[in-house]
Subunit: 188 residues, 2 copies
Amino acid sequence: MTSQRAYHHGDLRRAVLTAALDAIRDSGPAALSLRDLARRAGVSHAAPAHHFKDRTGLLTAIAAEGFDLLAGALAEAPELRERGVRYVRFCREHPAHFQVMFTPELLRADDPALRAARDRAREQLRSGIGDLETSERGEDARLAGIAAWSLAHGFATLLLAHNLDEPLEGQDPEGVFRGLTGLLFQGR
Amino acid sequence: MTSQRAYHHGDLRRAVLTAALDAIRDSGPAALSLRDLARRAGVSHAAPAHHFKDRTGLLTAIAAEGFDLLAGALAEAPELRERGVRYVRFCREHPAHFQVMFTPELLRADDPALRAARDRAREQLRSGIGDLETSERGEDARLAGIAAWSLAHGFATLLLAHNLDEPLEGQDPEGVFRGLTGLLFQGR
DNA sequence: GACAGAAACTTGTCAATGCCTAGATTTGGC
DNA sequence: GCCAAATCTAGGCATTGACAAGTTTCTGTC
């Protein structure tokens, strides 16, 4: 999108993003070093700043990309329960994105691209809840929406922080999560 | 406060911990600066290192304290649903602890105090699930345990990251959470 | 096809930070 | 009263993020 053809490097913006995602996956966002990313990409230490302005700018770009990926993943799933599974799958396939997306103090909250992408993702989350609105009362539907998001988000978060390694006993996380949704919506 | 009399400062360990919790609450763990904490406490820049060895050591001490506080809070609650409410209350009263506790890449995983405190908290989480084991089948009880933790943890996490500000419409979070548990355990 | 301007990148610099080492001061046990 | 340990200070080093200024490469236009 941004730069198809590139000047000295090729596509430094993408290279830095990818290297950042690797680093975050391994050591978290706190350990991220712009200068180290520059070294990995083979450019000078100030080159990344031209694409992202800032450390915060880089993380904001990652979060925006993450919300876009999440919105796309959710849009593929037809109904609410399957969207929860996609949410969990997303956090496993894109752990670095996921972690940055939900750490607001690392982000520039007023960034237009971030706001747009986050709104797209929220829209997908909300439209999934619409499935319930017909079968349940309005208030229950709202609660069910919060419950569904909390369940998926909590499961995803605990999973990434290795807090479910023991309880899961090596079982497939997505499969277990399907079981959880069965508990939550057993009355449906 | 904690230790009776102290040497040069009074109780530097507690002072640094408290200042760190304030800083994390405001700006997250990434923005934490040991030198800034030392300045706030009115000591030299290397003084905190003597109590915590390290930046990681300070965060590990915070996490251990957090798990102890959480274990205490959960122990006060009689049954499972109320423990979930305590979990949510804990994250609001101790947001800095909560955030650090579940960010493993910031911590020294093999620290004995951390392991002990985390085990205490896990024991409290697990014993709450025991309430279910009598009324439900074994496999369902295990799933229900994961579900309950995921629900509470997801709600807490989304709450702290200000992702529920809009859906909650200004309602009391604990009250809403009680509603969520009603959905999860409606069959009980 | 040259040229002007913009985009991409480099080099140099500065303040701040984490961590290490060595030394000074205070405390508590004997 | 004295010694050892605990507590804290002072100085230094490598690394980092951010900024400023200059250089190279591309792009659109006449």
